[in-house]
């Protein structure tokens, strides 16, 4: 589904991604772990199509198509979803409106008619209930005045409404208490299926207790340093990232 080869990118003129290789097949859940500042969010944003991050080499295909040639909005409609590490507050743009416009954009690409207003409302209310969100969030500005945990839930809500083929969740678990973490994990697990893939960028092993990954990658200094199964995450938890860095030198 997603194939990244030797991807390199600059941010503000500085080389951040230094040759990323990753393949994600349909139905798989991948976890990417790594120290702060190693470029995990940069990778996620480059994949989602952020324009001010300059790709300097490599290629990415999504369902066989050249992902890097598509503008951000087109990637989203094709089924790629980025859950932001820092969801943006947009006062004055209504949360419900954003959800509806996003859903309709996707439907339009699939040749479907706009979603019926009543149908949309009942869909969204059911998803909100599932995510333990109060309906009053619908009437508010996008992420406006939301707490950190509310913002993350809102990202998952959007994901559930849009049902992407590939979800990139950038530290959706950070800053959550254990109850919120369980709700987020429940949302992610509900999306798991043979046609969909999920990439979790995370700092901690904690989320992986609830969403079990098929593959775990360690990301450091702009590339994937080591890949393995979920036991790699446990080893990292026990011994820290330095263990890997030392191992590399040795």
């Amino acid at each position: 589904m997603l194939k990244i080869s030797q991807l390199r990118a600059n941010v503000a003129g500085r080389s951040i991604l230094k040759g990323v290789d990753l393949e994600v097949r349909a139905g798989e859940v991948h976890a990417i772990m790594g120290p702060n500042g190693s470029g995990k969010s940069t990778l996620a944003q480059v994949l989602a199509g952020r324009e001010d991050y300059e790709v300097t080499g490599g290629s990415v295909t999504f369902d066989g198509a050249d992902l890097l040639a598509m503008p951000a909005e087109e990637r989203a409609r094709a089924g790629l979803f980025l859950g932001f590490q820092y969801p943006v507050e947009i006062p004055g743009v209504n949360n419900a409106y954003l959800l509806k416009a996003a859903l309709n954009a996707k439907r339009k690409r699939a040749g479907l008619a706009e979603v019926d207003a009543y149908e949309f409302l009942s869909l969204i209310k059911a998803k909100m209930k599932f995510m333990g969100m109060d309906e009053s969030f619908l009437g508010r500005g996008v992420n406006e005045g939301f707490s950190g945990g509310e913002k993350k839930r809102n990202e998952i809500l959007q994901m559930l409404v849009l049902e992407p083929r590939l979800a990139l969740l950038d530290e959706t678990d950070s800053g959550l208490d254990i109850d919120a973490l369980k709700v987020v994990a429940k949302g992610v697990n509900s999306l798991r299926s043979a046609e969909r893939s999920i990439v979790l960028v995370t700092h901690y092993q904690r989320l992986l207790d609830y969403v079990e990954p098929d593959h775990v990658h360690v990301f450091a200094d702009g590339r994937i340093l080591k890949s393995g199964d979920k036991t790699l995450a446990l080893a990292l938890e026990a011994r820290g990232y330095d263990w890997l860095r030392e191992g590399r030198v040795a």
Binding site: A48, G49, P71, V88, P91, G92, V93, L98, V142
Partner: protein, 434 residues
């Protein structure tokens, strides 16, 4: 040839128009105004409040009085208003004045008011146009052909709409008109002035409105400029407020080639409250120049000014607001907030909040920021599959949101939003979404 052009052609033509007018019962005050105007001349680059708007081209063009013309246009603000009076080329329709049925309102044409009560009218007329920045109001006093005098004695049942249309088939027509609104103690009303028209010709509209609020009076006043892109507006609005009176003022500029909108407010007695909102939209080559001056002349007076400026194309939007708190007052409070959004590299927004505080016990705050669309917000919307043009329009709307939701009349807000949508890029996409 350019060099042969008379750089004072406008001034001379105004003088000629004044000489050609038959004398009326306020000839003395008109003569006084004209002589002062001629002595001062048109504002130039050296005049502080005209720094941003260059009138050199206009000054070199002679103007003639716009002829009377038949009623021409429907206002898109009519839907939620009670009575409507149309003023075409400065002349109100007598039938429309007759038809105003609200018992709280009494309306007459300024011509009728001049004949009936010249002394009190002359005194009223003189309160505006004293400042150098109000030279067009001075000229207006000399030259206004007609207009309205509205007295509000109770609680008006529905908004009163005054439609100003400029209709001329030539490129040198000038319209001078005035509206005077007097609000009795405790009375309440909403007045909407809608400036439209232009007929595709380079018309000059020099209008002045005076609002006088007695103690405890409450007025919502809207002035909306949606003329075609060849019309030039000089608009002077004066608000004088007595004790415990309240004025909410909305200035909306979404049309015209040049809109110079002055607002001069005087809070004359304790408890007076003034709240002004300006929505200034520049696009193509339009110039919008909004100049507010609020004077706190008494204790416990409050003023708030909010402006949202939007500039696309090669337009220029200026918001200049000055607050003066006079000596000897206590407990005045003032707040100025101005935000600008630039939509093109060739557009320009200039904001200047100014404070002059001559008293000790005051609470004043001001802020002015201008920027472009936030790339993080834009990326967030794009990453959800929203069309780029729609995302931009959404963010523009978000920028205007608090100003629009602050409008006191839901009907006015909806109508203005609809008109705005037509002015913005990606408009159609947005229409379906609200």
């Amino acid at each position: 040839m350019n060099t042969a052009r008379d750089k004072d052609a406008a001034l001379r033509s105004f003088e000629a128009a004044w000489r050609a007018r038959p004398a009326d019962r306020i000839a003395a005050t008109r003569t006084d105004a004209m002589q002062r105007f001629l002595a001062l001349g048109l504002p130039g680059a050296r005049d502080e409040s005209w720094r941003y708007t260059n009138l050199r081209a206009l000054a070199g063009r002679p103007f003639v009085d716009a002829e009377p013309a038949p009623s021409a246009r429907a206002s898109w603000l009519a839907g939620f208003c009670g009575s409507a009076v149309e003023i075409v080329n400065g002349r109100p329709s007598p039938a429309a004045i007759e038809s105003v049925g609200d018992p709280a309102l009494s309306i007459e044409s300024l011509r009728a008011a001049i004949d009936r009560d010249p002394a009190s009218l002359a005194a009223r007329l003189e309160s505006i146009g004293a400042a150098e920045s109000e030279r067009w109001a001075l000229l207006n006093r000399a030259l206004f052909v007609d207009g309205l005098r509205v007295r509000i004695a109770g609680r008006a049942t529905a908004p009163l709409l005054i439609v100003h249309s400029a209709e001329s088939a030539r490129d040198d027509a000038a319209v001078h008109s005035r509206v005077i609104v007097e609000v009795d103690a405790g009375a309440e009303a909403t007045i909407i002035e809608h400036h439209l028209g232009g007929s595709g010709h380079a018309t000059l509209v020099n209008h002045a409105t005076q609002l006088h609020l007695a103690p405890g009076a409450s007025v919502d006043h809207y002035r909306v400029f949606s003329s075609d892109d060849r019309t030039t507006h000089f608009d002077a609005l004066e608000v004088v407020q007595a004790a415990d009176s309240r004025c909410r003022q909305f200035t909306v500029a979404i049309g015209g080639a040049l809109v110079r909108a002055n607002l001069s407010g005087r809070l004359d007695a304790p408890g007076a409250e003034h709240d002004s909102h300006a929505l200034l939209v520049g696009r193509a080559a339009r110039q919008v120049d909004c100049v507010n001056a609020i004077v706190h002349a008494a204790s416990r007076t409050t003023s708030r000014q909010t402006a949202r400026a939007l500039a696309a194309g090669s337009s220029r939007v200026v918001f200049n607001s000055r607050v003066l708190v006079e000596a000897g007052t206590a407990g005045a409070s003032s707040n100025q907030s101005c935000r600008g959004l630039l939509l093109s590299p060739t557009a320009e927004i200039d904001t200047r909040p100014q404070l002059e505080i001559l008293a000790d016990d005051v609470k004043c705050a001001h802020g002015a920021t201008t920027g472009r669309l936030d790339p993080n917000m834009l990326f967030y919307l794009l990453s959800r599959g929203i069309d780029r043009a729609a995302a931009q329009t959404l963010l523009i709307y978000a920028f205007l949101d608090d100003l629009l939701t602050g409008m006191s009349l839901p009907g006015a807000r909806r109508a203005i939003e609809d008109a705005l949508i037509g002015e913005l890029p990606g408009a159609d996409l947005l229409r379906s979404t609200r």
